[in-house]
Symmetry: C2
Subunit: 157 residues, 2 copies
DNA sequence: TATTGTTATACTCTATAACTATA
DNA sequence: TATAGTTATAGAGTATAACAATA
């Protein structure tokens, strides 16, 4: 077999020749599809995906600062300000200026915040169950694992 | 075992309790990570992911109309106008008004368009190989299959 | 000098409404 | 009436620059 002719096995493994072959394209289509469903699922609670992500961060790790959350979610500090203002106005968390470093505010969920986070999570989970109905439990776990593997390169590189 | 206590197996299968458990969250993080890399990979060619998607559509299915492409890529007709204007100005495709129905323009790639599409695809493929370095060939195929399964619900439902 | 929280602003992407020409 | 291509515009989401307070 000549060296310049790709063999069939190589082509089957990673020969990207069309748009649909690109995993990045599939990722985007699936992500947009999910995001629209998640937004629709949260609408009755007057919430949005980004509100849920920030609130869940506070609930899961009480005492986080807004800068911490921004680093964890890869968003700009400037853009979390109106989101926190929204959640605060609903009484879902409270700010506590750190005694040792008065530049930072530690964020703690209120009782209502913890309850609301669970409610929002359940709404989105319902949507996910519909979205993933064609996938079995093993496939769902495998998908989560593969997706994590991809964007964990974000920190390393 | 009491009915109200979820057994361990059920929790392990679909007990979503944190943000990281949500496949939608993992999808978004992975998709954003990919999109930034793809944009960076295409920048030297003065292209963007959406330009590549539209050009590849024309190359893969010559004779498509702009409305066809919008339906295939789930984008608004209004938003493809400046994209086509850009690609046309670079001489990557030509429009041909359909003789039977003079409302529609069929789009055909030029020689340069086909070459440029292949070049852009190669740039993005390079980026994907880096992004997917932790995944083996079988895992990549499995990931593509699972992602397709998710957003194919877009058409049905 | 560096970081936090904040404001103001710009830029990109996407969505909507309306128009014309054709059918 | 319905669709294709187009224009103009509005809205989200995200990015950048600068500021005061604090370390």
């Amino acid at each position: 077999m000549p060296a310049h002719a790709p063999d069939k096995q190589a082509v089957a493994c990673d020969g990207v020749t069309t748009l649909a072959d690109l995993i990045g394209y599939q990722l985007r289509r699936a992500s947009i599809f999910d995001l629209q469903g998640a937004a629709a699922a949260l609408a009755p609670a007057e919430a949005r995906p980004v509100l849920m992500s920030v609130l869940l961060s506070i609930v899961e790790t009480p005492g986080m600062t807004s800068a911490d959350i921004c680093r964890a979610l890869s968003m700009q500090r400037a853009n979390i300000v109106p989101i926190l203002a929204d959640l605060e106005q609903r009484g879902l968390f409270r700010r506590e200026t750190d005694a040792a470093d008065r530049r930072i505010q530690r964020l703690y969920p209120t009782r209502r915040g913890t309850e609301e986070a669970a409610r929002w999570l359940a709404l989105v989970d319902e949507h996910e169950q519909r979205m993933l109905q064609r996938l079995g439990p093993t496939e769902r776990r495998e998908l989560r694992r593969l997706l994590e593997l991809i964007w964990q390169g974000e920190i390393e590189s």
